[in-house]
Symmetry: C2
Subunit: 251 residues, 2 copies
């Protein structure tokens, strides 16, 4: 039986989702927990790679259960959580077809990027938001964010050196919300280029002092050049928030 | 010049606010930062002791500045934050009379106690809420919480062994709020007995399955006996949320 699971994790301790030679990964921690529970080490396939330090509230991955496994999917979250460290939690599990692939099955992803927009640091958001102590104009950032929505070539927001050639993606939502002392970028799309959300976040911050942030953002998109956009925001403000599969009637 | 400061801190690393021989304290960390900034170690007086692991969003303390100090109070938060570890932040500073004492000047305190009330753990609330994975009835907890309001003898909610004899206090607010997956006890009063909020939180949880939680809470209060109340909830769900001084026109 193939099971699709939803996980939340605090990314600070990890070199990212994917197993890496140079440090602990979320994937390896999940495989360790699965091995403790099932007695064998099943392959785990994630919906995405996340970078070192990036967080997730709704990461999806598949876990094929051994044929003799008697644990019903609904019991898997509790059973795995008992073997996981406190910075990873399984929130949900459901059976999916054997050929379901969490990365290649079409889906939309929502990312959020959190900026602590106040002078003083917040001990409860250390490592959970980008602390930006200088003034930010949320309305101007929102005016620029709106221009991201649509089917467009996002080459300007792809990390230099990435080898992807088709850089057209569709963003169905992109907005900046104020939440208490924070500004949160919420962005939903059918796929994301390498570092795309962090570059968009850094660009929105750099456009916060701009006279005409909307037209300026359109120019940056049209440039199709990484050098036209702003800096890459740090990883610890980024959350993979939600992943939805139309084939599973999740949209 | 005497300055009253407001601090937030994540309590996990500390043995409490007050300097202790057996571990790092918030007070010592503040004195270290003040010494780095001012060149001498000023006495720091807190509004309260907090226990090991307890958090604060609005702790108040006084810092008498040396006579030759040229830093205006409004600049102190930034100046001290530059010397503080990331789990402590100064949020505000204001001049107060030399004889102002943050503990003996009459004030009200608001505490909050956070319970993560869902089956799965939350990696972003580890150490920041009491994870209670079994069902809780928020309405019954609220019915019991309401009985705490008023001027009453709260002896039943004082840790056994405390030597305080006057156990009458006035609570002006006590309620249980749902916030996403959490239940938050908000309680405001003119003074609190040792472990009082944690014992009230533990008692509210134990009354969640009770048929008549309001009358049961009245019985517990009337008993004036620690054994009548529920268990002491763990420290890491507790926050000293806000302290207000009428003499400073804060109420």
């Amino acid at each position: 039986m193939n099971v699709l699971l939803t996980a939340a994790y605090h990314g600070a301790r990890y070199c990212g989702f994917q197993v890496q030679p140079n440090g602990p990964s979320v994937q390896a921690a999940l495989q360790d927990a699965a091995q403790s529970l099932l007695g064998e080490r099943p392959p785990i396939t994630g919906c995405s790679r996340t970078d070192a330090g990036v967080h997730a509230r709704g990461f999806r991955f598949t876990l094929p259960l051994p044929p003799d496994c008697r644990i019903p999917p609904a019991r898997l979250p509790d059973a795995l959580n008992a073997h996981l460290p406190p910075d990873i939690a399984i929130l949900d599990a459901r059976e999916v077809p054997d050929d379901f692939h969490p990365r290649y099955t079409p889906h939309t992803k929502e990312y959020r990027y959190r900026i602590l927009a106040r002078r003083a640091p917040d001990p409860f958001q250390t490592g959970l938001a980008w602390h930006y102590p200088r003034p930010l104009n949320a309305e101007k950032m929102q005016a620029a964010a709106r221009e991201i929505v649509g089917r467009q070539d996002f080459r300007s927001f792809m990390a230099a050196g990435s080898k992807i050639t088709d850089t057209v993606r569709t963003m169905t939502d992109c907005r900046v919300e104020r939440q208490e002392d924070s500004l949160v970028l919420c962005i939903t799309g059918d796929g994301f280029l390498y570092n795309m959300v962090r570059i968009i976040a850094g660009t929105l911050v750099s456009l916060s002092g701009e006279e005409n942030p909307g037209p300026k953002m359109r120019e940056i998109i049209a440039a199709r050049d990484r050098r036209a956009a702003g800096p890459t925001a740090p990883p610890h403000g980024l959350y993979l928030w939600q992943v939805r599969y139309a084939a599973l009637h999740e949209e």
